[in-house]
Protein backbone atom coordinates (compact mmCIF):
# COMPACT_ATOMS: atom_id res chain seq x y z
CA UNK A 1 0.00 0.00 0.00
CA UNK A 2 1.42 3.37 -0.98
CA UNK A 3 1.53 6.48 1.14
CA UNK A 4 -0.70 8.22 -1.42
CA UNK A 5 -3.53 5.92 -0.49
CA UNK A 6 -2.90 6.45 3.19
CA UNK A 7 -2.80 10.21 2.96
CA UNK A 8 -5.02 11.59 0.28
CA UNK A 9 -5.32 15.36 0.32
CA UNK A 10 -8.75 15.44 1.90
CA UNK A 11 -7.69 13.25 4.78
CA UNK A 12 -4.54 15.31 5.19
CA UNK A 13 -6.52 18.55 5.45
CA UNK A 14 -8.70 16.98 8.11
CA UNK A 15 -5.62 15.74 9.88
CA UNK A 16 -4.51 19.35 10.26
CA UNK A 17 -7.87 20.15 11.82
CA UNK A 18 -7.43 17.22 14.20
CA UNK A 19 -3.94 18.36 15.17
CA UNK A 20 -5.30 21.85 15.80
CA UNK A 21 -8.04 20.51 18.07
CA UNK A 22 -5.51 18.50 20.06
CA UNK A 23 -2.98 21.29 20.37
CA UNK A 24 -5.52 23.92 21.32
CA UNK A 25 -6.93 21.58 23.99
CA UNK A 26 -3.61 20.44 25.38
CA UNK A 27 -4.89 20.52 28.95
CA UNK A 28 -7.38 17.80 27.98
CA UNK A 29 -5.46 15.63 25.51
CA UNK A 30 -2.04 15.92 27.14
CA UNK A 31 1.03 17.80 25.95
CA UNK A 32 3.43 16.47 23.35
CA UNK A 33 7.08 16.18 24.21
CA UNK A 34 10.25 16.26 22.21
CA UNK A 35 12.73 13.93 23.83
CA UNK A 36 16.42 14.51 23.29
CA UNK A 37 17.23 10.85 23.87
CA UNK A 38 16.04 9.68 20.48
CA UNK A 39 18.37 12.15 18.77
CA UNK A 40 21.34 11.62 21.10
CA UNK A 41 24.73 10.81 19.63
CA UNK A 42 25.10 7.11 19.01
CA UNK A 43 28.30 5.31 19.75
CA UNK A 44 29.43 2.74 17.18
CA UNK A 45 29.87 -0.35 19.37
CA UNK A 46 32.39 -3.01 18.37
CA UNK A 47 32.09 -5.72 21.03
CA UNK A 48 28.37 -5.59 21.93
CA UNK A 49 25.05 -4.94 20.21
CA UNK A 50 22.82 -2.21 21.63
CA UNK A 51 19.14 -1.91 20.79
CA UNK A 52 17.34 1.16 22.10
CA UNK A 53 13.94 0.32 23.60
CA UNK A 54 12.24 3.65 24.17
CA UNK A 55 12.88 7.28 23.19
CA UNK A 56 13.48 8.38 26.79
CA UNK A 57 15.80 5.60 27.98
CA UNK A 58 16.63 1.91 27.99
CA UNK A 59 18.53 -0.43 25.70
CA UNK A 60 18.92 -4.18 25.40
CA UNK A 61 22.52 -5.38 25.14
CA UNK A 62 23.35 -8.61 23.37
CA UNK A 63 26.45 -10.41 22.18
CA UNK A 64 28.07 -10.68 25.61
CA UNK A 65 28.37 -13.54 28.11
CA UNK A 66 28.57 -12.17 31.65
CA UNK A 67 29.55 -15.50 33.18
CA UNK A 68 33.02 -14.91 31.65
CA UNK A 69 35.50 -12.21 32.70
CA UNK A 70 35.06 -9.13 30.49
CA UNK A 71 37.75 -7.83 28.16
CA UNK A 72 38.57 -4.19 28.94
CA UNK A 73 37.09 -3.04 25.63
CA UNK A 74 33.82 -4.86 26.31
CA UNK A 75 33.66 -3.43 29.81
CA UNK A 76 34.24 0.09 28.41
CA UNK A 77 31.45 -0.34 25.89
CA UNK A 78 28.99 -1.64 28.48
CA UNK A 79 29.82 1.38 30.62
CA UNK A 80 29.29 3.72 27.66
CA UNK A 81 25.97 2.01 26.88
CA UNK A 82 24.89 2.51 30.50
CA UNK A 83 25.73 6.22 30.39
CA UNK A 84 23.98 6.71 27.01
CA UNK A 85 20.87 4.69 27.80
CA UNK A 86 20.61 5.14 31.61
CA UNK A 87 19.38 1.58 32.06
CA UNK A 88 20.57 -1.46 30.12
CA UNK A 89 19.16 -4.96 29.94
CA UNK A 90 20.71 -8.36 29.25
CA UNK A 91 18.96 -11.69 28.56
CA UNK A 92 19.90 -15.28 29.40
CA UNK A 93 22.69 -14.54 31.89
CA UNK A 94 22.69 -17.44 34.31
CA UNK A 95 25.13 -15.87 36.79
CA UNK A 96 26.29 -17.43 40.03
CA UNK A 97 26.53 -15.08 43.01
CA UNK A 98 30.31 -14.94 42.50
CA UNK A 99 29.90 -14.01 38.85
CA UNK A 100 27.24 -11.45 39.74
CA UNK A 101 29.60 -9.81 42.24
CA UNK A 102 32.52 -9.96 39.81
CA UNK A 103 30.49 -8.18 37.10
CA UNK A 104 29.48 -5.49 39.60
CA UNK A 105 33.07 -4.96 40.78
CA UNK A 106 34.13 -3.88 37.31
CA UNK A 107 32.11 -0.71 37.92
CA UNK A 108 33.14 0.09 41.50
CA UNK A 109 33.12 -1.24 45.02
CA UNK A 110 30.01 -3.12 46.11
CA UNK A 111 27.47 -1.74 48.54
CA UNK A 112 26.44 -3.58 51.73
CA UNK A 113 22.83 -3.17 52.71
CA UNK A 114 22.69 -1.63 56.19
CA UNK A 115 19.70 -3.69 57.37
CA UNK A 116 19.37 -6.82 55.23
CA UNK A 117 22.16 -9.44 55.41
CA UNK A 118 23.13 -11.32 52.25
CA UNK A 119 23.17 -15.09 51.83
CA UNK A 120 25.96 -17.08 53.55
CA UNK A 121 29.35 -16.01 52.19
CA UNK A 122 27.88 -13.25 50.00
CA UNK A 123 27.29 -10.21 52.21
CA UNK A 124 27.12 -7.90 49.17
CA UNK A 125 24.27 -9.81 47.51
CA UNK A 126 20.70 -8.78 48.28
CA UNK A 127 17.93 -11.31 47.70
CA UNK A 128 14.50 -9.75 47.08
CA UNK A 129 11.82 -12.36 47.49
CA UNK A 130 8.04 -12.06 47.27
CA UNK A 131 5.45 -14.78 47.56
CA UNK A 132 2.07 -15.59 49.06
CA UNK A 133 3.34 -14.75 52.55
CA UNK A 134 5.48 -11.73 51.75
CA UNK A 135 4.40 -8.61 49.84
CA UNK A 136 7.72 -6.98 49.17
CA UNK A 137 7.18 -5.17 45.88
CA UNK A 138 8.25 -1.53 46.04
CA UNK A 139 5.63 0.00 43.80
CA UNK A 140 6.43 3.67 44.42
CA UNK A 141 8.83 5.58 42.17
CA UNK A 142 12.27 6.01 43.70
CA UNK A 143 16.00 6.08 43.21
CA UNK A 144 17.83 3.77 45.59
CA UNK A 145 18.77 5.01 49.08
CA UNK A 146 18.97 8.72 48.25
CA UNK A 147 18.92 9.18 52.03
CA UNK A 148 22.65 8.29 51.96
CA UNK A 149 25.18 11.12 51.73
CA UNK A 150 26.68 9.25 48.77
CA UNK A 151 23.89 7.12 47.28
CA UNK A 152 24.75 4.08 45.15
CA UNK A 153 25.93 4.72 41.59
CA UNK A 154 23.85 1.89 40.21
CA UNK A 155 22.39 -1.57 40.73
CA UNK A 156 22.50 -4.83 38.82
CA UNK A 157 19.33 -6.88 39.30
CA UNK A 158 18.99 -10.48 38.11
CA UNK A 159 15.69 -12.39 37.87
CA UNK A 160 15.78 -15.90 39.37
CA UNK A 161 12.10 -16.86 39.82
CA UNK A 162 9.23 -15.06 38.07
CA UNK A 163 5.45 -15.15 38.02
CA UNK A 164 3.74 -16.30 34.82
CA UNK A 165 2.81 -12.71 33.97
CA UNK A 166 3.35 -9.51 35.94
CA UNK A 167 6.19 -8.22 38.05
CA UNK A 168 7.56 -5.94 35.32
CA UNK A 169 9.84 -3.09 36.38
CA UNK A 170 9.45 0.44 35.05
CA UNK A 171 12.31 2.91 34.74
CA UNK A 172 11.97 6.67 34.29
CA UNK A 173 14.55 9.03 32.79
CA UNK A 174 15.20 12.00 35.04
CA UNK A 175 16.90 13.77 32.11
CA UNK A 176 13.73 13.51 30.02
CA UNK A 177 11.61 14.64 32.96
CA UNK A 178 13.87 17.67 33.53
CA UNK A 179 14.05 18.58 29.84
CA UNK A 180 10.25 18.53 29.53
CA UNK A 181 9.87 21.26 32.17
CA UNK A 182 9.44 24.85 31.04
CA UNK A 183 12.42 27.23 31.30
CA UNK A 184 10.72 28.93 34.22
CA UNK A 185 10.46 25.70 36.21
CA UNK A 186 14.03 24.72 35.34
CA UNK A 187 15.33 28.07 36.60
CA UNK A 188 13.19 27.91 39.72
CA UNK A 189 14.52 24.46 40.65
CA UNK A 190 18.14 25.14 39.76
CA UNK A 191 19.32 26.43 43.13
CA UNK A 192 17.01 24.43 45.42
CA UNK A 193 18.04 21.64 47.77
CA UNK A 194 15.93 18.90 49.32
CA UNK A 195 16.14 16.72 52.38
CA UNK A 196 16.16 12.94 51.92
CA UNK A 197 15.45 10.76 54.91
CA UNK A 198 15.21 7.07 55.70
CA UNK A 199 13.45 7.25 59.05
CA UNK A 200 9.88 7.74 57.76
CA UNK A 201 10.47 4.92 55.26
CA UNK A 202 11.73 2.13 57.47
CA UNK A 203 9.86 3.15 60.61
CA UNK A 204 11.26 4.88 63.69
CA UNK A 205 14.93 4.45 64.49
CA UNK A 206 15.87 1.38 66.45
CA UNK A 207 19.60 1.79 66.86
CA UNK A 208 21.39 4.41 68.92
CA UNK A 209 22.58 6.30 65.83
CA UNK A 210 19.77 6.91 63.36
CA UNK A 211 21.34 8.16 60.13
CA UNK A 212 20.98 11.89 59.72
CA UNK A 213 19.06 13.01 56.64
CA UNK A 214 21.02 13.90 53.52
CA UNK A 215 20.61 17.20 51.70
CA UNK A 216 20.95 16.98 47.92
CA UNK A 217 20.34 19.43 45.06
CA UNK A 218 16.88 19.16 43.45
CA UNK A 219 18.62 19.03 40.07
CA UNK A 220 21.61 16.74 39.73
CA UNK A 221 24.38 16.99 37.15
CA UNK A 222 25.52 13.56 36.02
CA UNK A 223 29.26 13.34 36.74
CA UNK A 224 30.01 11.50 33.46
CA UNK A 225 27.45 12.69 30.89
CA UNK A 226 27.16 16.24 32.26
CA UNK A 227 23.39 16.12 31.63
CA UNK A 228 20.97 17.56 34.18
CA UNK A 229 18.28 15.42 35.79
CA UNK A 230 15.55 15.81 38.34
CA UNK A 231 16.67 14.46 41.72
CA UNK A 232 13.70 14.18 44.09
CA UNK A 233 11.64 11.02 44.58
CA UNK A 234 8.43 9.95 46.27
CA UNK A 235 9.99 7.57 48.79
CA UNK A 236 12.96 9.35 50.38
CA UNK A 237 12.51 13.07 49.71
CA UNK A 238 10.83 14.75 52.67
CA UNK A 239 11.00 18.47 51.94
CA UNK A 240 12.57 21.25 49.96
CA UNK A 241 14.87 23.36 52.11
CA UNK A 242 13.88 26.97 52.70
CA UNK A 243 10.22 26.69 51.71
CA UNK A 244 7.12 26.55 53.89
CA UNK A 245 5.78 23.03 54.34
CA UNK A 246 2.81 23.73 52.06
CA UNK A 247 4.99 25.21 49.32
CA UNK A 248 7.35 22.27 49.57
CA UNK A 249 4.48 19.76 49.43
CA UNK A 250 2.99 21.47 46.37
CA UNK A 251 6.29 21.52 44.47
CA UNK A 252 7.15 17.92 45.37
CA UNK A 253 3.66 16.71 44.47
CA UNK A 254 3.95 18.36 41.05
CA UNK A 255 7.40 16.89 40.40
CA UNK A 256 6.48 13.41 41.62
CA UNK A 257 3.41 13.37 39.34
CA UNK A 258 5.47 14.73 36.47
CA UNK A 259 7.85 11.77 36.79
CA UNK A 260 4.84 9.42 36.40
CA UNK A 261 4.32 10.40 32.73
CA UNK A 262 4.86 7.33 30.55
CA UNK A 263 6.67 9.39 27.91
CA UNK A 264 9.66 9.29 30.30
CA UNK A 265 9.47 5.52 30.88
CA UNK A 266 10.52 2.14 29.65
CA UNK A 267 8.67 -0.94 30.96
CA UNK A 268 10.82 -4.06 31.18
CA UNK A 269 9.30 -7.51 30.98
CA UNK A 270 11.56 -9.94 32.80
CA UNK A 271 12.45 -13.49 31.92
CA UNK A 272 14.43 -15.82 34.17
CA UNK A 273 18.13 -14.80 33.97
CA UNK A 274 17.34 -11.35 32.59
CA UNK A 275 19.40 -8.51 34.07
CA UNK A 276 18.59 -4.83 34.50
CA UNK A 277 21.54 -2.54 35.25
CA UNK A 278 20.43 0.99 36.07
CA UNK A 279 22.35 4.18 36.62
CA UNK A 280 20.97 5.32 39.96
CA UNK A 281 22.21 8.88 39.35
CA UNK A 282 19.78 9.71 36.53
CA UNK A 283 16.88 7.24 36.71
CA UNK A 284 14.09 6.20 39.03
CA UNK A 285 12.31 2.86 39.03
CA UNK A 286 9.30 1.06 40.48
CA UNK A 287 8.14 -2.55 40.62
CA UNK A 288 4.66 -3.64 39.57
CA UNK A 289 2.78 -5.05 42.57
CA UNK A 290 0.45 -7.02 40.31
CA UNK A 291 1.47 -10.68 40.66
CA UNK A 292 0.44 -11.57 44.20
CA UNK A 293 0.24 -14.42 45.37
CA UNK A 294 2.80 -15.72 42.86
CA UNK A 295 6.52 -15.99 43.68
CA UNK A 296 9.18 -13.61 42.40
CA UNK A 297 12.83 -13.82 43.48
CA UNK A 298 15.47 -11.34 42.39
CA UNK A 299 19.19 -11.14 43.18
CA UNK A 300 20.92 -7.78 43.32
CA UNK A 301 24.28 -6.14 43.79
CA UNK A 302 24.58 -2.38 44.18
CA UNK A 303 27.66 -0.36 43.28
CA UNK A 304 28.83 2.38 45.64
CA UNK A 305 28.68 5.95 44.44
CA UNK A 306 31.91 7.92 44.22
CA UNK A 307 30.81 11.43 45.07
CA UNK A 308 27.99 13.36 46.65
CA UNK A 309 25.32 14.52 44.19
CA UNK A 310 26.05 18.02 42.85
CA UNK A 311 24.47 20.50 40.47
CA UNK A 312 26.59 22.47 38.05
CA UNK A 313 24.39 24.80 35.97
CA UNK A 314 25.06 24.53 32.22
Amino acid sequence: MSNEVLLDSKALAENEALAYVLESHENIWGSRLRLAGSNAAKTAYQTIRVERLSPALGAEISGVDLTKPLEDKTFQEIHTALIENQVIFFRDQNLSMDQHEAFGRRFGTLHSHPAIPGPEGHPKVLILHADEKAHTAVSAWHADITSDQVPPMGSILLAKVLPETGGDTMFASMYAAYEALTDKWQKFLSDLEAEHSVEHVFGGSKGPNPPSPAVHPVLRTHPVSGRTGLYVNSVYTTKIIGMTSKESAAVLDFLIRHVERPEFHVRFKWKVNSIAFWDNRCTQHRAMADYYPQTRTMQRVAINGEERPFHRPN
Partner: protein, 302 residues
Protein backbone atom coordinates in the same frame (compact mmCIF):
# COMPACT_ATOMS: atom_id res chain seq x y z
CA UNK B 1 16.06 -7.89 58.90
CA UNK B 2 14.59 -11.00 57.26
CA UNK B 3 12.08 -11.27 54.44
CA UNK B 4 9.06 -11.33 56.76
CA UNK B 5 10.30 -8.11 58.36
CA UNK B 6 10.69 -6.46 54.96
CA UNK B 7 7.19 -7.54 54.04
CA UNK B 8 5.80 -6.11 57.27
CA UNK B 9 7.69 -2.88 56.71
CA UNK B 10 6.47 -2.48 53.13
CA UNK B 11 2.86 -3.26 54.02
CA UNK B 12 2.92 -1.08 57.10
CA UNK B 13 4.10 1.89 55.01
CA UNK B 14 2.02 1.52 51.87
CA UNK B 15 1.44 5.25 51.70
CA UNK B 16 5.16 5.42 50.91
CA UNK B 17 5.94 2.13 49.17
CA UNK B 18 2.72 1.89 47.17
CA UNK B 19 -0.35 -0.35 47.38
CA UNK B 20 -0.40 -4.03 46.47
CA UNK B 21 -3.04 -5.52 44.23
CA UNK B 22 -4.32 -9.03 43.82
CA UNK B 23 -5.64 -9.02 40.27
CA UNK B 24 -8.38 -11.37 39.21
CA UNK B 25 -6.94 -11.80 35.71
CA UNK B 26 -9.08 -13.12 32.87
CA UNK B 27 -12.60 -14.29 33.72
CA UNK B 28 -12.07 -17.83 32.53
CA UNK B 29 -9.23 -20.08 31.47
CA UNK B 30 -10.46 -21.10 28.05
CA UNK B 31 -9.15 -23.81 25.80
CA UNK B 32 -8.91 -22.25 22.35
CA UNK B 33 -8.99 -24.49 19.30
CA UNK B 34 -8.42 -22.15 16.35
CA UNK B 35 -6.12 -19.45 17.82
CA UNK B 36 -3.16 -19.29 20.21
CA UNK B 37 -3.16 -16.80 23.03
CA UNK B 38 -0.31 -15.38 25.13
CA UNK B 39 -1.31 -13.27 28.10
CA UNK B 40 0.82 -10.09 28.37
CA UNK B 41 0.06 -8.60 31.79
CA UNK B 42 -1.96 -9.67 34.83
CA UNK B 43 -4.53 -6.90 34.39
CA UNK B 44 -5.30 -7.18 30.68
CA UNK B 45 -3.95 -7.79 27.19
CA UNK B 46 -3.11 -10.88 25.15
CA UNK B 47 -1.32 -11.51 21.90
CA UNK B 48 -3.20 -13.73 19.44
CA UNK B 49 -1.36 -15.83 16.92
CA UNK B 50 -2.25 -18.57 14.46
CA UNK B 51 -4.72 -16.45 12.51
CA UNK B 52 -4.36 -14.73 9.11
CA UNK B 53 -6.68 -11.74 8.81
CA UNK B 54 -6.15 -11.42 5.05
CA UNK B 55 -8.33 -14.54 4.76
CA UNK B 56 -12.02 -14.82 5.66
CA UNK B 57 -12.59 -16.23 9.13
CA UNK B 58 -14.81 -19.15 10.07
CA UNK B 59 -17.52 -18.72 12.74
CA UNK B 60 -15.51 -20.73 15.28
CA UNK B 61 -12.46 -18.46 14.87
CA UNK B 62 -14.63 -15.34 15.14
CA UNK B 63 -16.23 -16.64 18.32
CA UNK B 64 -12.83 -17.42 19.83
CA UNK B 65 -11.46 -13.98 18.92
CA UNK B 66 -14.53 -12.41 20.52
CA UNK B 67 -14.11 -14.55 23.66
CA UNK B 68 -10.44 -13.56 23.81
CA UNK B 69 -11.41 -9.89 23.46
CA UNK B 70 -13.95 -10.01 26.28
CA UNK B 71 -11.65 -11.97 28.62
CA UNK B 72 -8.51 -9.94 27.91
CA UNK B 73 -10.15 -6.56 27.13
CA UNK B 74 -7.55 -5.78 24.47
CA UNK B 75 -5.98 -8.25 22.03
CA UNK B 76 -3.02 -7.84 19.72
CA UNK B 77 -2.05 -9.39 16.39
CA UNK B 78 1.30 -9.21 14.57
CA UNK B 79 2.23 -9.20 10.88
CA UNK B 80 -1.26 -8.59 9.46
CA UNK B 81 -0.65 -6.80 6.16
CA UNK B 82 -4.34 -6.24 5.40
CA UNK B 83 -5.95 -3.95 2.82
CA UNK B 84 -8.51 -1.29 3.67
CA UNK B 85 -11.24 -3.70 2.55
CA UNK B 86 -9.88 -6.58 4.66
CA UNK B 87 -9.64 -4.25 7.65
CA UNK B 88 -13.34 -3.39 7.28
CA UNK B 89 -14.30 -7.03 6.69
CA UNK B 90 -12.59 -8.01 9.93
CA UNK B 91 -14.42 -5.28 11.85
CA UNK B 92 -17.81 -6.30 10.43
CA UNK B 93 -17.59 -9.72 12.07
CA UNK B 94 -18.21 -7.91 15.36
CA UNK B 95 -20.86 -5.33 14.37
CA UNK B 96 -21.68 -2.50 11.99
CA UNK B 97 -18.91 0.04 11.35
CA UNK B 98 -18.87 3.62 12.56
CA UNK B 99 -18.44 6.52 10.11
CA UNK B 100 -16.66 9.47 11.69
CA UNK B 101 -18.96 12.51 11.61
CA UNK B 102 -16.17 15.01 10.92
CA UNK B 103 -13.15 13.24 9.44
CA UNK B 104 -13.66 11.61 6.04
CA UNK B 105 -11.91 8.34 5.24
CA UNK B 106 -9.77 7.59 2.20
CA UNK B 107 -11.63 7.57 -1.17
CA UNK B 108 -14.30 4.86 -1.16
CA UNK B 109 -13.69 3.90 2.49
CA UNK B 110 -15.66 6.27 4.75
CA UNK B 111 -15.47 3.76 7.62
CA UNK B 112 -11.67 4.04 7.80
CA UNK B 113 -10.06 6.65 10.04
CA UNK B 114 -6.44 7.56 9.31
CA UNK B 115 -4.44 8.90 12.27
CA UNK B 116 -1.28 10.51 11.04
CA UNK B 117 1.41 12.36 12.94
CA UNK B 118 4.62 13.88 11.65
CA UNK B 119 6.89 16.88 12.01
CA UNK B 120 4.12 19.28 10.98
CA UNK B 121 1.15 17.61 12.64
CA UNK B 122 1.78 16.44 16.13
CA UNK B 123 -1.19 14.19 16.58
CA UNK B 124 -1.23 12.15 19.73
CA UNK B 125 -4.02 11.64 22.25
CA UNK B 126 -1.85 11.20 25.31
CA UNK B 127 -4.54 11.57 27.97
CA UNK B 128 -6.37 8.49 29.27
CA UNK B 129 -9.78 8.03 27.67
CA UNK B 130 -12.32 5.63 26.29
CA UNK B 131 -13.47 6.58 22.82
CA UNK B 132 -16.38 9.03 22.48
CA UNK B 133 -17.96 8.29 25.84
CA UNK B 134 -19.88 11.53 25.13
CA UNK B 135 -22.11 9.49 22.76
CA UNK B 136 -25.38 8.09 24.18
CA UNK B 137 -24.31 4.71 22.75
CA UNK B 138 -20.49 4.77 22.66
CA UNK B 139 -18.80 2.39 20.26
CA UNK B 140 -18.18 -1.25 21.09
CA UNK B 141 -14.54 -1.32 20.15
CA UNK B 142 -11.90 -0.30 17.67
CA UNK B 143 -9.34 -2.11 15.54
CA UNK B 144 -6.16 -0.11 15.06
CA UNK B 145 -3.47 -1.09 12.55
CA UNK B 146 0.06 0.37 12.42
CA UNK B 147 1.20 1.40 8.92
CA UNK B 148 4.21 3.70 9.53
CA UNK B 149 6.08 3.68 12.84
CA UNK B 150 8.86 5.76 14.41
CA UNK B 151 12.11 3.95 15.16
CA UNK B 152 11.30 3.88 18.86
CA UNK B 153 8.37 5.39 20.72
CA UNK B 154 4.69 5.76 19.94
CA UNK B 155 3.63 2.84 22.15
CA UNK B 156 0.01 2.68 23.28
CA UNK B 157 -1.01 1.97 26.86
CA UNK B 158 -4.26 0.26 27.84
CA UNK B 159 -5.72 0.27 31.35
CA UNK B 160 -8.15 -2.32 32.68
CA UNK B 161 -11.17 -0.64 34.23
CA UNK B 162 -12.17 -4.00 35.73
CA UNK B 163 -8.84 -4.22 37.57
CA UNK B 164 -9.07 -0.55 38.60
CA UNK B 165 -12.56 -1.13 40.01
CA UNK B 166 -11.47 -4.29 41.82
CA UNK B 167 -8.51 -2.36 43.27
CA UNK B 168 -10.87 -0.04 45.19
CA UNK B 169 -11.98 -0.66 48.76
CA UNK B 170 -15.51 -2.04 49.37
CA UNK B 171 -16.55 1.31 50.77
CA UNK B 172 -15.43 3.24 47.69
CA UNK B 173 -17.03 0.65 45.38
CA UNK B 174 -20.38 1.02 47.17
CA UNK B 175 -20.20 4.82 47.03
CA UNK B 176 -19.54 4.86 43.27
CA UNK B 177 -22.04 2.17 42.28
CA UNK B 178 -25.06 4.40 42.65
CA UNK B 179 -23.60 7.41 40.84
CA UNK B 180 -23.97 8.77 37.32
CA UNK B 181 -21.70 11.18 35.44
CA UNK B 182 -22.17 13.74 32.69
CA UNK B 183 -19.99 13.26 29.60
CA UNK B 184 -19.57 16.03 27.02
CA UNK B 185 -17.58 17.02 23.95
CA UNK B 186 -17.83 20.79 23.56
CA UNK B 187 -14.95 21.29 26.00
CA UNK B 188 -12.95 18.77 23.94
CA UNK B 189 -13.67 19.74 20.33
CA UNK B 190 -14.70 23.41 20.77
CA UNK B 191 -18.14 24.87 20.13
CA UNK B 192 -20.22 23.55 17.23
CA UNK B 193 -19.80 25.65 14.07
CA UNK B 194 -23.23 24.89 12.54
CA UNK B 195 -26.30 22.69 12.95
CA UNK B 196 -24.62 19.64 11.38
CA UNK B 197 -21.61 19.97 13.65
CA UNK B 198 -22.68 17.78 16.55
CA UNK B 199 -21.34 18.03 20.09
CA UNK B 200 -22.96 15.05 21.82
CA UNK B 201 -23.51 14.78 25.56
CA UNK B 202 -24.65 11.79 27.61
CA UNK B 203 -25.21 10.64 31.17
CA UNK B 204 -23.68 7.27 32.02
CA UNK B 205 -23.25 5.24 35.23
CA UNK B 206 -19.89 5.78 36.97
CA UNK B 207 -19.55 2.00 37.29
CA UNK B 208 -20.43 0.13 34.10
CA UNK B 209 -21.38 -3.54 33.95
CA UNK B 210 -19.88 -5.28 30.95
CA UNK B 211 -22.82 -6.64 28.92
CA UNK B 212 -21.03 -9.91 28.07
CA UNK B 213 -18.72 -10.70 30.98
CA UNK B 214 -20.83 -9.09 33.71
CA UNK B 215 -17.66 -7.64 35.31
CA UNK B 216 -17.85 -4.14 36.76
CA UNK B 217 -15.57 -1.38 35.54
CA UNK B 218 -14.89 2.29 36.24
CA UNK B 219 -16.55 4.36 33.52
CA UNK B 220 -15.31 7.92 33.87
CA UNK B 221 -12.37 9.28 31.89
CA UNK B 222 -10.21 12.36 31.92
CA UNK B 223 -11.18 13.58 28.44
CA UNK B 224 -14.96 13.38 28.14
CA UNK B 225 -16.33 13.20 31.71
CA UNK B 226 -17.52 16.60 32.92
CA UNK B 227 -18.98 15.99 36.38
CA UNK B 228 -20.70 13.53 38.69
CA UNK B 229 -24.44 14.17 38.87
CA UNK B 230 -25.82 15.21 42.27
CA UNK B 231 -22.49 16.08 43.88
CA UNK B 232 -21.35 19.62 44.58
CA UNK B 233 -18.72 20.90 42.12
CA UNK B 234 -15.84 20.50 44.60
CA UNK B 235 -17.01 17.02 45.66
CA UNK B 236 -17.31 15.95 42.03
CA UNK B 237 -13.89 17.37 41.11
CA UNK B 238 -12.26 15.63 44.04
CA UNK B 239 -13.82 12.22 43.30
CA UNK B 240 -12.95 12.43 39.60
CA UNK B 241 -9.40 13.52 40.38
CA UNK B 242 -8.98 10.56 42.72
CA UNK B 243 -10.32 8.14 40.08
CA UNK B 244 -8.09 9.54 37.30
CA UNK B 245 -5.01 9.14 39.49
CA UNK B 246 -6.11 5.64 40.50
CA UNK B 247 -6.45 4.62 36.82
CA UNK B 248 -2.87 5.79 36.21
CA UNK B 249 -1.38 3.03 38.40
CA UNK B 250 0.70 0.85 36.05
CA UNK B 251 -0.46 -2.34 37.80
CA UNK B 252 -3.67 -1.89 35.78
CA UNK B 253 -1.85 -1.38 32.45
CA UNK B 254 -0.32 -3.12 29.52
CA UNK B 255 2.09 -1.19 27.28
CA UNK B 256 2.06 -2.29 23.66
CA UNK B 257 5.09 -1.81 21.45
CA UNK B 258 3.93 -1.61 17.84
CA UNK B 259 5.56 -2.96 14.73
CA UNK B 260 4.38 -2.21 11.20
CA UNK B 261 1.26 -4.35 10.57
CA UNK B 262 0.58 -4.91 14.27
CA UNK B 263 -3.07 -4.64 15.30
CA UNK B 264 -4.63 -3.68 18.62
CA UNK B 265 -8.32 -4.53 19.01
CA UNK B 266 -9.76 -3.06 22.19
CA UNK B 267 -13.14 -3.53 23.81
CA UNK B 268 -14.21 0.09 24.30
CA UNK B 269 -16.69 -0.99 27.01
CA UNK B 270 -13.93 -1.81 29.48
CA UNK B 271 -10.35 -0.57 29.03
CA UNK B 272 -9.16 3.00 28.54
CA UNK B 273 -6.15 3.83 26.41
CA UNK B 274 -3.64 6.57 25.69
CA UNK B 275 -0.93 7.16 23.11
CA UNK B 276 2.61 7.91 24.23
CA UNK B 277 3.55 11.32 22.81
CA UNK B 278 7.29 10.70 22.74
CA UNK B 279 8.16 10.28 19.07
CA UNK B 280 7.96 13.82 17.70
CA UNK B 281 9.18 14.76 14.99
CA UNK B 282 9.06 11.23 13.58
CA UNK B 283 6.16 9.97 11.48
CA UNK B 284 3.51 7.59 12.77
CA UNK B 285 0.49 6.55 10.68
CA UNK B 286 -2.30 4.36 11.98
CA UNK B 287 -5.43 3.05 10.29
CA UNK B 288 -8.57 2.38 12.29
CA UNK B 289 -12.06 0.95 12.00
CA UNK B 290 -14.54 1.43 14.80
CA UNK B 291 -17.43 -0.89 15.61
CA UNK B 292 -20.77 0.65 16.60
CA UNK B 293 -22.08 -0.02 20.08
CA UNK B 294 -25.33 -1.93 20.43
CA UNK B 295 -26.71 -0.67 23.76
CA UNK B 296 -26.21 2.25 26.15
CA UNK B 297 -23.93 1.65 29.17
CA UNK B 298 -25.76 0.30 32.23
CA UNK B 299 -25.03 -0.76 35.81
CA UNK B 300 -26.36 -4.01 37.23
CA UNK B 301 -25.32 -4.95 40.78
CA UNK B 302 -23.18 -8.09 40.95
Amino acid sequence: MDNAAISKMVQGNNTIWGDHFQLAGPGAERAYETIQLTRLAPALGAEISGVDLTKSLGPKTCQEIHDALVDNQVIFFRDQDITLQQHKDFGRYFGSLHVHPVIPGPEGHPEILMLHSDEKEQYSASAWHSDVSCDPVPNLGAILLAKVMPKTGGDTEFASMHAAYEGLSDKMQRFLCGLEAQHGSEHVFGRAKNADDKRPTAIHPVIRTHPVSGRQGIYVNSVFTVKIIGLKPKESASVLEFLYRHIELPEFHVRFKWQVNSIAFWDNRSPQHRAIADFFPQTRTMQRVTINGDSPPFYRPS
